[in-house]
């Protein structure tokens, strides 16, 4: 079985995978064949042994095909999927393009609006300031674009998942 794995944004590499027995895999990667012993304890913690090397690693599902993998304190945002569902992947990877709908991650309070509907913003520019868990967090725009909607007002308490604002690429916003 073949899986395509890619860092978010990067191009994908093919990894051949065959489960020889429960938790033991034959892996094709970079043209070499490895035997990987992946023991799982709990829901997301693995102990990987490959050629004697032991790694305690964690893999947490992130949406459709995403996995956040933590190894040796390094976090990797990866997309992994069966070759056949590659097409789906293509679309899944376009998340960070086009119209951006920003929602609140958790309950909090809007301390300040730093942009208004119609404003042009650059990627990383703060659109509003949200206070949650006693900390003020500036919520930036993920792309260069135009703010086409703001769902909250200053001082408003927001719930997790509530729409904060929408940013659209220039060509789309009109």
């Amino acid at each position: 079985m073949k899986y395509l794995v890619a860092e978010k944004g990067g191009e994908s590499q093919a990894i051949g995978l065959e489960e020889l027995s429960e938790g033991l895999y034959e892996v094709q990667i970079d043209g070499v064949t490895l035997h990987v012993d992946a023991a799982k304890s709990g829901r997301t913690i693995y102990s990987i042994i490959q050629d004697g090397q032991q790694y305690e690693a964690m893999a947490e599902e992130k949406g459709a095909h995403g996995f956040d993998v933590l190894v040796r304190g390094q976090l990797f945002h990866l997309e992994a999927q069966d070759e056949r569902s590659q097409l789906l992947a293509a679309s899944a990877q376009t998340v960070a393009e086009g119209k951006q709908v920003i929602e609140a991650e958790m309950p909090g309070k809007v301390v300040k609006l730093e942009a208004a509907v119609g404003d042009t913003v650059v990627e990383g520019q703060g659109v509003l300031v949200l206070e949650a868990m006693k900390m003020e967090n500036e919520i930036p725009s993920p792309i260069d674009g135009i703010v086409t909607e703001i769902g909250v007002s200053e001082g408003e308490a927001v719930e997790g998942g509530q729409l904060l604002f929408v940013v659209e690429p220039p060509e789309q916003a009109d």
Binding site: G42, V71, L75, G161
Partner: protein, 510 residues
């Protein structure tokens, strides 16, 4: 000694105080809000009373309810921990009026120190050096004038400030207005008081603080210094004791100044004098914290003194069980504050259920925590989930232990700042011990920079990560194939759903 104490707090510090009570043979009374019924501090306590709704203002800050619980339970004293009511002088007065011992200094002492402007005035009188700047509250206009008078860069600070809240550094003219606005709004939100003052910004400042213990008989000693210069957005993240390259002479002078400050205000209990030390080893009074500090544990590690038990003893009227000459520094200690936040995504808070919790252990390691596997980290309170403290015979050993302990510490379900701490512990500037409060901004790109491991190790980790991603995907697909037959474990599906949801949002925020 008291027979029973109310701990008017939650999380790790409530657990810390309850431990002290149990060791003293004092019954502990926990208080809990709606969302804290299952919290660890409730489970460790002898007694527990509900104090209100999740929002702190409706529970842990409800003076009437806290005092009612003290009466109901027949407690003789209240320990406020840190935060919440810890530095509320009016609360201390209420306790006194109602015949309950407040474990801390008198209300008037707290007020004189709690308001930073008043504190600066008091210290100036006591002959303790203070940072050049204003000693009154300022309007935006006055602040601007003063900024020009003192000359940039300056710090804009909230009079009621503390813990880095309502504080802004202004280097350029144009930043000033914005800084004043943000500082006022933050101060208003945090302390309900938006008055500000201005200080000259000390270049390459190091944050060195002196731990104090004083009894009601007028004895006061210092337990040497802590270095808290590793700060992100004015929040301490890693502390060390003793400080780096602090000469015996400087230590003695700062200790004496701190003791003088304590005596000047008739201080009793545990407290901390925060100083800024500049590149010439001149030091300036910053503020005095009239409570137990988050980072008190590193001082306990190098002195062997149980600070929390001692503050309870002196509150009960006992004299300090030791004098200055009985105290000495043994070895070196480091603390890493582990927050529920995502160091790989601009440190956004990361609440949720802790699915896996495996704290570090073994020689020279101490963990103070308010959580356990299965516990919830809510959005309502401070995001600190644990304090990891290591001790070593010298700084190198303490650092090696901290690296080892960070490697062992497993928290799953929420993101934590552990990877960030690992990056700091690998930073050559930090390792050199010659750093100031600008360290994270200048040498770690505000927290984003640095790496927990070497380039080769990172490539190796990347390879394993890719393989694991493929394996995880394979297992997930396999599981889905049998989805029809299998049933998700009760109580497990829920958190997962919410993760899916949150993570997608985080994806968008990125």
């Amino acid at each position: 000694m008291f027979k029973k104490i109310v701990i008017a707090n939650r999380g790790e510090i409530a657990v810390r105080v309850i431990r002290a009570c149990r060791e003293l043979g004092v019954r502990s009374v926990a208080v809990y809000s709606d969302v804290d019924r299952d919290a660890l501090h409730v489970r460790y306590a002898d007694e527990a009373y509900h104090c209100g709704e999740p929002r702190a203002s409706e529970s842990y800050l409800r003076i009437d309810r806290i005092l009612e619980i003290a009466r109901e339970s027949g407690a003789e004293a209240i320990h406020p921990g840190y935060g919440f009511l810890a530095e509320n002088g009016d609360f201390a007065d209420r306790c006194e009026r109602e015949g309950v011992v407040f474990i801390g200094p008198r209300g008037d002492v707290m007020r004189s120190m709690g308001d930073k402007v008043t504190a600066r005035q008091t210290m100036e009188k006591a002959g303790v050096p203070i940072v050049p700047g204003t000693t009154e509250r300022l309007s935006d206009e006055q602040a601007t004038e003063w900024a020009h008078k003192i000359g940039l860069p300056v710090m804009v600070k909230a009079s009621a400030g503390g813990g880095g809240k309502g504080m802004r550094l202004v280097r350029a003219e144009k930043e000033l207005a914005q800084a004043l606005k943000r500082a006022r709004s933050e101060a208003k939100a945090s302390f309900g008081d938006d008055s500000l003052y201005i200080e000259k910004f000390v270049e390459e400042p190091r944050h060195i603080e002196i731990q104090l213990l004083a009894d009601t008989q007028g004895n006061a000693v210092h337990l040497f210094e802590r270095e808290c210069s590793v700060q992100r957005r004015h929040q301490k993240v890693i502390e060390e004791a003793p400080g780096n390259g602090i000469s015996e002479d400087l230590r003695a002078r700062m200790g004496a100044a701190a003791v003088a400050a304590a005596k000047a205000v008739g201080y009793a209990g545990a407290g901390t004098c925060e100083f800024l030390v500049d590149r010439n080893d001149d030091f300036y009074f910053l503020e005095m914290n009239t409570r137990v500090q988050v980072e008190h544990a590193i001082t306990e590690a190098i002195t062997g003194i149980d600070i929390v038990k001692t503050m309870i003893r002196v509150a009960a009227g006992e004299p300090l069980p030791f004098r200055q000459e009985d105290l000495a520094i043994s070895g070196h200690a480091i603390e890493a504050r582990i927050y529920a936040e995502d160091p790989d995504n601009n440190f956004v808070p990361s609440p949720g259920q802790i699915l896996v919790y495996r704290p570090s252990g073994g020689i020279g390691v101490r963990v103070d925590s308010g959580v356990y596997q299965g516990a919830q980290v809510t959005v309502y309170y401070d995001p600190m989930v644990a304090k990891l403290i290591t001790w070593g015979r010298d700084r190198d050993e303490a650092i090696e232990r901290m690296r080892r302990a960070l490697f062992e510490f497993v928290v799953k379900g929420i993101k934590t700042s552990i990877p960030f701490h690992q990056r700091v512990l690998n930073n050559p500037i930090f390792l050199s011990g010659r750093y100031d409060t600008g360290f994270i901004d200048q040498h770690m790109d505000g927290g984003k920079g640095g790496s927990a491991i070497s380039g080769a190790e990172k490539e190796d980790a990347r390879r394993v990560a890719h393989i694991l991603a493929a394996i995880a995907a394979y297992r997930r697909d396999k599981q889905r194939a049998n989805a029809a037959t299998a049933t998700a474990p009760v109580g497990v599906e829920a958190p997962w759903k919410s993760y899916g949801r949150r993570s997608q949002m985080r994806g968008m925020l990125r």
